[in-house]
Subunit: 259 residues, 2 copies
DNA sequence: GCGATTATGGTCGCATTCGATCGGAGGTCA
DNA sequence: TGACCTCCGATCGAATGCGACCATAATCGC
């Protein structure tokens, strides 16, 4: 069994890491070793842990604090990996949008690309918890229904228990979901428990679930469980998934689409 | 040791490239090398990377920024012509915001000005159905709760029956409302029935109702009844209201504040 | 107290990054 | 058009960082 909640890391060291990364918004592993009197292996472990919690972002040679990036919600914080792929994935997802449908758009940069492609689809109803997706469609486009609830600044999405008040009232034909992590064992994962909560509710009530992720998410496991692979009907990704992973998906009757 | 060989991360370099290219619309590889303290090969690699992301366009000898940011004309238009009166009204409304409060922000340009003033109030919870108010506070500021429901494009607010699902769950200390029309006979009025519906629900559950309108709304009557004057506790406006109207308001125990 | 689980540190093979070199393409000027 | 020069992309090598594995120490449960 996978032990998700191993939180017995030295809390003091984690706090000092957080502090160091809040002060300067980036730090090198080497420096952190000296400062914390710890080995590189330990520092790396802690950093990956913090990354799973969504508090920092790892980069080669160190880490950067993710807080410094939320000031510009319009600017994509994670552009360091692939956007051509994301656009292609979004384009492939269009095949699953039928006129007259009611669809749900989740947060995440890949789904955001899909939102951009829907600006000319007027015979459509879009439900979303993503502020940025809503912005794309605020001027013109389909009928737009926003999910209500508390705004999570990091992802610019509306999450948490309050979202349930609207989600239980509506049922969408197809839900287009993003995900921070995607693995055979842990399924869909994301950093924030509230966000995971909302994702589960959406996937429960959707007639069809389409997951849009680029291949860099393969094997990643983030903090919170956001859904089982069994709940996914279609997975759209770029062509770089490992064969083993694709096989394990098709065995679960998930249709894998390569954009 | 000279700080010549200061290590830097790839993402930081990308950010600095973006910044340099946003400032001047074009930059040469040679200059970027000096600025980033990197070799031409590295700069070229980063530039091609950014080009793949679609953020810039390579040219011989350097790169130019491709301004893909087509701001919605809807937003620019109304936000730029925020009159002095509206700003002053918003400023006066700040007196009714106490630390720790939960407040509601309605749509409308005057209330939007108030949202702008709240970006440094972190000890506060803001509930709103206004997409533009949410945007003002999306990057930083108070805890932000969005009301869910159908987006009305004209006002960029969330309105209609679905909003009730969240509104009945929450109770705010003070609701700051806008209005299209304000008259002794018809009270508060607005153009859209759905919008009126939502306004009524908010005013019902708010402990205190503060209406923010400039004096041009006096005597105007719009299509849908959105609330009775008796439900209003405070009216903040500029100093151009007619004496008769002010008297009729104070007779109804409404506190009139001139900004 | 003892076994089991967990945290930490060291080592090794591998991946990533960066800079240098080189052949060739593209731009410039007569 | 052709000569000349600059710049570009591809490839390679060096350096560094990284994850995986294992050993050891600490801690917890029984």
């Amino acid at each position: 069994m996978v032990t998700l909640n191993q939180k017995q890391f030295a809390p003091e060291r984690l706090d000092r890491l957080r502090a160091a990364l809040r002060q300067n918004r980036m730090a090198r592993v080497e420096d952190l070793c000296r400062e914390l009197n710890a080995s590189p292996a330990t520092v790396r472990r802690d950093l990956t842990h913090l990354e799973q919690l969504g508090e920092i972002q790892r980069v080669h040679g160190g880490a950067v604090s993710v807080d410094s990036k939320i000031e510009e919600p319009l600017f994509d914080a994670k552009t360091s990996i692939a956007s051509k792929e994301k656009q292609q994935i979004a384009k492939a997802a269009l095949d699953f949008v039928k006129p007259g449908d009611t669809i749900y758009l989740d947060g995440g940069s890949t789904v955001l690309e899909l939102a951009r492609l829907l600006r000319d689809h007027t015979n459509l109803t879009v439900v979303t918890n993503s502020l940025r997706a809503a912005l794309e469609l605020a001027g013109r486009g389909p009928r737009l229904i926003l999910v209500g609830g508390e705004l999570r600044r990091l992802s610019q999405t509306v999450v948490g228990p309050l979202t349930e008040n609207i989600l239980r009232e509506i049922h969408v034909d197809t839900a287009f979901m993003g995900s921070m992590g995607l693995s055979s064992d842990s399924g869909l994962t994301t950093t924030d428990p509230n966000e995971a909560f909302t994702k589960k509710r959406v996937m429960d009530s959707a007639r069809q679930v389409v997951v849009l992720v680029d291949s860099s998410k393969e094997g990643k496991v983030a903090f919170s469980h956001a859904g089982k692979l069994e709940d996914v009907d279609v997975l759209i990704t770029d062509g770089k998934l490992s064969k083993d992973f694709v096989r394990s998906l098709t065995e679960k009757k998930i249709k894998v689409v390569k954009a």
